[in-house]
Symmetry: C2
Subunit: 236 residues, 2 copies
Amino acid sequence: MDLAVGNIQAGDNAAEGAGEKTPTPRQQAVLDAALGLIVDPKAALTMSSLARAASCSKESLYKWFGDRDGLLTATVRWQAAKVRGRPVRRGELDGELLKESLERFAADWLTVISGETSVALNRLAIGEAAGGGTGRNLGRIVADNGPLAMGRRLTPLLEMGREAGLLAFDEVTEAFRDFFGLVVRDVQIRLLLGDRLDLSPASIRADAARATRQFMALYGAHQGPDGPALKMKGKE
Amino acid sequence: MDLAVGNIQAGDNAAEGAGEKTPTPRQQAVLDAALGLIVDPKAALTMSSLARAASCSKESLYKWFGDRDGLLTATVRWQAAKVRGRPVRRGELDGELLKESLERFAADWLTVISGETSVALNRLAIGEAAGGGTGRNLGRIVADNGPLAMGRRLTPLLEMGREAGLLAFDEVTEAFRDFFGLVVRDVQIRLLLGDRLDLSPASIRADAARATRQFMALYGAHQGPDGPALKMKGKE
DNA sequence: TCAGTACCGTACCGTACGTTACGGCCGATG
DNA sequence: CATCGGCCGTAACGTACGGTACGGTACTGA
């Protein structure tokens, strides 16, 4: 949450597909109040409770966001806009920098998914994905800003590592998904199911280092006399 | 779903902590109808809809299950009782059998979590875990029959592998969690978020083989002249 | 035959919530 | 100063749902 907070304020954001306008400051305050209600375990996000919490009228909520689904969509988008990370700078890439970058990715990701905001938002999107016919954009938006966003951010680094002869893989997508699994393991599903799981900064650092070490053991291009530890080509 | 269906019918099940009686056949039919409603994307599980679908009265639902939460709990328990797997038989364990057992575990698990029943039930439990004060047993029950059950089933096999000198690890829990991550990766969270993801039997088999191969590369006790590929002790 | 039991079908109640409508306040604009 | 648009606060409406009550039916056992 507190990592790489980069609010898009100047200019219009050309990204994000269909033209979605950035909310006004007043609307941003409302969306922050909505996030607070979503996160609070003993509070439910209803249009009335949000109007009360944000000191605005329900009429304004409907005018600004259309309906409840539009409000949820805008809230998810607003939160997603807050946690965007910076891309890796191209250029010199040696083994040490690659390892540090991977560890940083892993630690950042564990920090994000263990945050109460991320847990609450994923729960909301998953609950929304249960109903088939309703506005199921939520699940896609969260997925886009969840695992898929991590993939988009990590893929260039992995390919740079391959170009530099530090990594060996055929499909960058598969390499990323393995890294994802080594980092997340059962943490996210257990958090979503309500399991108490203390993710202290120290344990996050240790987990990030472990995942990176394992990933390098699987995909590192060892320059030693023996080849890579794991051959990816050929089936069986 | 269709793997290792072992209905507990004879005698009372001494397991499962607080004494929970096995439902009568009529109640089992009702619980199956509840599962059908939970799975159906365009149907919601309400007491009325379940009474209609199961051709029973709401009064009977409340008499049998107490309240809505009891019904959900019983439904989750009922489904969990259906997918229990068999333990691995002790005795001779060589490298080939270990590999086959791991692959079987991985394939079984991918089959379970990609089943629509598992997805729907996990969604339900996650949605229920959002409200803090309500009967949050659901999340714990699903977790107990989800990752934790897989851990309980897999741990003995891993320790047998270590005793046989085939695996090398310090903490069996950590080894299991790594295996879990290699198997599940981002599949479960994407399925929960509504992502379409074709898990054909062929791809499941391939994924199970890949995860097992990677796990053995990380944790296998190589009998070659060089030591294990990954030292687990010592930090940094 | 008659009481008892278990169950179905349905009507009903209270509440929560999404959504709409209305009255009042305030700053801007002419 | 008058008017207008944006917004707040609140009341009101319709619906959905959890939970309860009641009448009707089939079966059992004395």
